[in-house]
Every structure is written in structure tokens, then in C-alpha cells.
Symmetry: C2
Subunit: 200 residues, 2 copies
């Protein structure tokens, strides 16, 4: 019998967990304006991962809607979005933030970042992956125009809103509560907060 | 003195070459309707590669225009689009085709595919990479609607039209003349052809 796991994704940090096929993964935007970068890896072969480029080619949308299934780099179903109270702004287009990104934004010295958070969270489970896949950026609002211009916009999600996924295989899910405090993707205040996940 | 290399990208096959910083890479759509999946890797460390997700985050567009610079997964400039006579429909959204993709499209047995072509072309230069980066799909026309719906459309390029890039570092460039003959991305006839590149 699968047990329920409750996971805190600490502010500016990552977290990862094992999920069995058929379980539901609920990601909660506890304070309402926190982007959560999300990755999934096949538990049996972590070189197979959720792929934004394979998923877009499958559901033929820039953003998934309820009922859409994300696919791996082997084109297999891995996560299906089954419920969403957040307004649906989940970005598939942008790389996870990383230290070189913060350098370009003028930061000197250390800055927390989603790439390091991913690898640290996987490392805590004893897992190493050979690259940083393009993440599913939950609650991240990247609008596009008819001519294809993109923008960093403020979140449209509200406190306690959430997205729920069904696991389509045994997998490792990893999250990072995005520490971006220069661009307004976590809100104009630059406040970065914790978020939560429930695996049930 | 850098020499000029002429490269044939055979129909349904790949090709790769070494390029020095400052050289120009001209990719020619010889027969006018051939998609060319394109990748670039830092010649000194092939785990650093041209990243569609980092590039979109840099130029803030779904598609690059002349003057835009593609960035690596370390956020460094790698290729700048400096000239384009093809109509500018170069896709950054879709995964390279692979055998599992053709299975989903109903193909049994072997089908040529861009993923295998990439790794074979790199292999011919003695290079192995640990993943298949999301490609820059030259001449591939993937329109979007205001609500984010994507489609596989026919090419808008014409015979002999081309795109020219400036190399921003010493790099390995790899191409695949996409063997997709089921979807209309290489034209409705399903004809797949050779293309050419000149490195000068």
C-alpha cells in the first residue's frame, strides 16, 4: 500500500522524492507567488527524464492543460496534469536559473539557483544525472505575443492554489523553490518562499 | 588562416564539423523544403552545448531573428544569426525526431531519425555526448496561436535560401537533414532531400 508523503520545498532550496506509478503528486503554492521548477526521472533509468521538447511535440501546446501528459526523452508518458487551481500559467520554455544566469543579471558571489538545487536534491537520494533537463516551471507566468515575444511576468496563482499530477511510471520527482529575486517571476517584491508537495 | 569547408548533409543523414570562433556557418536549404536540425557544442568541453531553453531566456522570443545570439547551457554566446533569406521560420520548441517518435506515428521497424544522425555524426569525429540537446530546427515551421496551440506546418523557405551564423566560440556544429516523411514539416510530398553547409 502506497503511503502519503508530505514534502516541504524550503524557500530557495530543492527537494526530491520517489513516486510510484499511479500516485498523485500535488504541488501547492502555499504563499501564492512562488515558482516551483519541477523535474521527473524514470526511477529505473534516470537518463530517461521528462522532456519539455518531447512534451510540446506530443500535446502541441506551449503550456499543458488539465488532461495533458508530459513525455520523457524516450517519448513515454511520465506525468499527467489532472487538476489545477492555479490559473494554469506553467512555463515550459525557460531554462532553470543557474549561477551563470545570475552573473548575467549582475550578481557577484553566491546566489542560490534552481540548477544547483536540483542536483543537491537528487544527490540527497544518491542520484546523479548527466545533464540538467529543461524544467517544468510550475506557477511561472511567461506570456507570449502573436509575434513570439516572451516576457517575465508576475504570477497569476493565489495562496494555497495547486497543480496535481498523476505518475505514469515509477519516478523520481524533484522540485526547486526558485530563488529568483531580480526578475519579477516570484512577484515584484522579490520575496521567495517555501512551497509544499503531497504524494498520495 | 581558416579554410573554407563545404559540407553535404545527405538526405536523411547527419554531418558534423569543427568551426573556429569568428567563422561563419552558412546552412543552405538547397531544395527549399528540407528541415535541418542543428546543434552546437563547445569544442573544448562538449558537455557545454547550445541550449534552446537558455537561448529563449536570453533573447526573449520563441524564434530568433537576425542579430540574436544563441546561448549555451552555461549561458555563454555560441552562435549568432547574422543573415537569413529563408523566411525566418526556425523552430526552437520541438525535440529531434527519434525512433520512439516514429513508433508513436505508427512506423514499425527502422526509420532514419535526427537523434541517431546527431550521435553518428559526432561519433565520426570521435565525440560522444551524454544527452541529446533540444535542437535548433532550421527551416522548420511551427506556428503558434494566441492561446498557445502549436502545429506542424509546411516550410516557408525556398530553394537555395539560407541562414548564416557567426561562431562565438570554437565549436562543433552538427546537422541532420530531417527524415520526417509522415508529418508535413518537409512539405506535403514527404520528400526528404540533402542540404548543404559552408563554413568560411
Amino acid at each position: 500500500m502506497a503511503t502519503t508523503q508530505s514534502l516541504t520545498i524550503p524557500a530557495r532550496r530543492g527537494a526530491a522524492a520517489r513516486v510510484s506509478a499511479g500516485q498523485r503528486v500535488k504541488v501547492i503554492n502555499t504563499h501564492g507567488s512562488q515558482v516551483v521548477d519541477t523535474w521527473a526521472f524514470n526511477a529505473r533509468d534516470v537518463t530517461e527524464w521528462m522532456s519539455m521538447e518531447a512534451s510540446r511535440a506530443w500535446f502541441l501546446k506551449l503550456r499543458a492543460a488539465v488532461g495533458d501528459t508530459f513525455r520523457t526523452n524516450q517519448r513515454r508518458p511520465i506525468l499527467t496534469l489532472v487538476e489545477d487551481t492555479s490559473g494554469g500559467a506553467h512555463d515550459t520554455l525557460m531554462a532553470a536559473c543557474d549561477l551563470p544566469r545570475y552573473r548575467l543579471l549582475g550578481v557577484e558571489g553566491h546566489h542560490d539557483n534552481c540548477r544547483d538545487n536540483l542536483h543537491a536534491a537528487l544527490g540527497a537520494l544518491g542520484i546523479t544525472v548527466p545533464a540538467t533537463p529543461s524544467p517544468l516551471n510550475l506557477f511561472m507566468n511567461i506570456p507570449w505575443t502573436p509575434d513570439g515575444t516572451l516576457a517575465w511576468a508576475e504570477p497569476v496563482s493565489t495562496p494555497g492554489s495547486y497543480a496535481v499530477f498523476r505518475a505514469e511510471m515509477d519516478l523520481i520527482v524533484a522540485f526547486s523553490a526558485c530563488p529568483q529575486d531580480i526578475l519579477p517571476i516570484n512577484g515584484r517584491t522579490g520575496r521567495t518562499t517555501e512551497a509544499h508537495a503531497v504524494i498520495e
